[in-house]
């Protein structure tokens, strides 16, 4: 493998040394982990931050008057500041911690959906959404009588902006809820243009940034977004923590999603009154250690810098498209102009599951299936795809290994 570094400012060997798992063997082969879009590996600093909290500074947050609780609260609330800075939120109170992007979307569907979207009004999504941005709207539709509209994508896998506009045109769409980067096609959507379009027709916009936030700097104010969601575990943080950002004035107008400790102002046997955001939306003991871990992950990527990360991943993606396209019988899905480090493909005569199993035998981890985007599979005319996805620790050499691995898969099926 040649680990030539093409993004000048990113010292890939140094970065790889930060991720303990990357040295592991799988089936006696060196691990080539190309499944980071499902969940990324964790750098030493994230592991250490969590261990350090558990070993030296842990107690429940917010409600304690003692030193351990105050320090843990500082660390937890400090993580909120880091997320606010990451997204360039106007105010830290706009950051709500959830379990994952899925919960963030459900929170919006439940709380905003039942109070700000009238029965008969519509939510507009696209054909390339993850189930997390489809199923909550089905549930809201069935419980609350909204309608769901689906904006088309082009054959290149880009949002059909004319169709978005056509579906917003009657002014009956309350929310455009759309991915910022497709987890299947890698497409970055034109978020700022979508926001302007939505606002022109009186709709709010939610961006599912689960993939997008990993690869590039996100500025919710510059995008003029209303809601933004992502998961910590894809951003090199731990599982169990996700983020919902929303404009403060929208949050102020939303009722709580769950009830319990910490989200109330007062409780009597007869009634409860709600705390202000963000606490109104964080019922019970939060994912304290996980927020701390996510904070460390944000520090980590920020220190490297999204310019360097984006440049590195652009290079990997170009290289990946080049070497995979060269394999006969291999078809890459989607050809968006603006794309992140995710490549889905099919291989003639070999089912994606067999591709994944045979690559795994060579130590190469890719994902195969519908990638929680079953309707998109139908749109693309496939049952499933194999998907290689790249992170800041991925090397050109690993992509070359994937290409070599795929040639061996073809031999087996030859």
């Amino acid at each position: 493998m040649s680990d030539v570094l093409h993004a000048p400012t990113l010292d890939i060997e140094k970065i790889r040394a930060d991720f303990p798992i990357l040295g592991q063997l799988v089936h006696n082969k060196k691990l080539v982990f190309l499944d980071s879009a499902a969940s990324a590996q964790k750098p030493r600093v994230v592991i250490d931050a969590m261990v350090n909290a558990m070993e030296t500074q842990y107690a429940n947050v917010h409600r304690g008057l003692h030193w351990m609780s105050e320090r843990t609260s500082d660390a937890y609330e400090g993580a909120r500041d880091k997320v606010a800075a990451l997204l360039n939120a106007r105010d830290r109170s706009e950051i709500i911690f959830t379990r994952n992007a899925t919960e963030s979307l459900n929170l919006v569907a439940h709380s905003f959906g039942r109070t700000h979207i009238k029965p008969g009004q519509a939510v507009l999504i696209s054909q390339m959404e993850h189930h997390a941005n489809i199923v909550p709207w089905h549930m809201l539709r069935d419980a609350h009588g909204i309608t769901l509209r689906i904006a088309r994508i082009t054959d290149a896998g880009e949002i059909d902006m004319d169709d978005v506009e056509a579906k917003l045109a009657d002014g009956n769409v309350a929310l455009l809820s759309i991915t910022h980067m497709s987890n299947v096609l890698g497409t970055y959507t034109p978020a700022a243009r979508l926001a302007a379009l939505a606002h022109r027709y009186g709709a709010k916009i939610l961006l599912d940034g689960s993939q997008a936030v990993v690869h590039r700097a996100v500025d919710v104010q510059a995008l003029d977004a209303d809601f933004y969601v992502f998961s910590g575990h894809k951003l090199y943080g731990p599982s169990g923590i996700g983020v919902l950002w929303a404009r403060r004035e929208i949050l102020d107008s939303m009722p709580p999603f769950m009830g319990g400790g910490d989200m109330i102002d007062r409780v009597s046997y007869e009634r409860s009154t709600w705390a202000k955001p963000p606490f109104r939306f964080e019922a019970g003991t939060p994912a304290i250690l996980e927020a701390i871990g996510l904070g460390a992950a944000i520090d980590y990527v920020s220190a490297i810098g999204f310019d360097a990360i984006a440049a590195h991943e652009r290079d990997l993606t170009e290289h990946g498209i080049a070497v995979l396209s060269a394999i006969e019988g291999l078809h890459i899905l989607g050809a968006a102009q603006d794309r992140g480090g995710v490549i889905s493909f099919t291989l003639d005569g070999v089912h994606a599951h067999d591709v994944a199993t045979l690559l795994d035998k060579q130590g190469i981890a890719v994902r195969a299936g519908h990638h929680c985007a079953e309707p998109l599979m139908g749109r693309l005319g496939v049952d499933s795809t194999a998907r290689a996805s790249f992170a800041l620790y991925t090397t050109r050499g690993e992509i070359d290994a994937l290409a070599a691995g795929l040639r061996r898969v073809k031999q087996v099926f030859g």
Partner: protein, 145 residues
């Protein structure tokens, strides 16, 4: 291949995937059923016909991975001419081979043992057992009685 990455894909499996013996439909049948795995889109449709208390004919249309296709086809070999009781015993033994890695000495799984390697891949178990689930359903199918 030198390092046996293809252990799982024994030649019998590859042969049957590329050229299944039992592919197609039966025009006359007394049971049929579909099995599917939404996670990957694997799908198999089975048709069966009994005669004299035994399985006299079987055909399948399978769209899926090599394991599912070969499992459907090798199942065809294994169950033809068997009684229902014998078929259920085979199904149990095969499912045990996949889920535990071992199967009892009887009934004789014969060529079905080629699929034994699937045991090591828990996420592929369903690929191998899907046809057998469909067969259980087809045996219970009353709609063509």
């Amino acid at each position: 291949m030198s390092d046996n990455i293809a252990d799982l894909y024994q030649s019998l499996i590859m042969e049957r995937t590329k050229a299944p013996h039992h592919a197609g439909r039966l025009s006359a049948f007394d049971g049929d059923a579909e099995g599917d795995n939404p996670m990957c889109g694997d799908r198999t449709h089975l048709w069966i016909r009994r005669a004299g208390g035994k399985l006299a004919a079987i055909a399948h249309e399978t769209r899926g991975c090599a394991i599912t296709t070969a499992a459907s086809d090798l199942m065809g070999d294994a169950v033809l001419g068997k009684t229902e009781a014998e078929i259920y015993a085979l199904a149990d033994a095969f499912e045990s081979l996949i889920s535990t890695g071992t199967a009892p000495a009887t009934p004789d799984l014969a060529d079905l043992r080629a699929l034994g390697g699937v045991h090591e891949y828990r996420s592929r178990h369903r690929c191998a057992t899907l046809p057998w689930q469909a067969l259980r359903a087809a045996l219970k199918d009353q709609s063509h009685g």
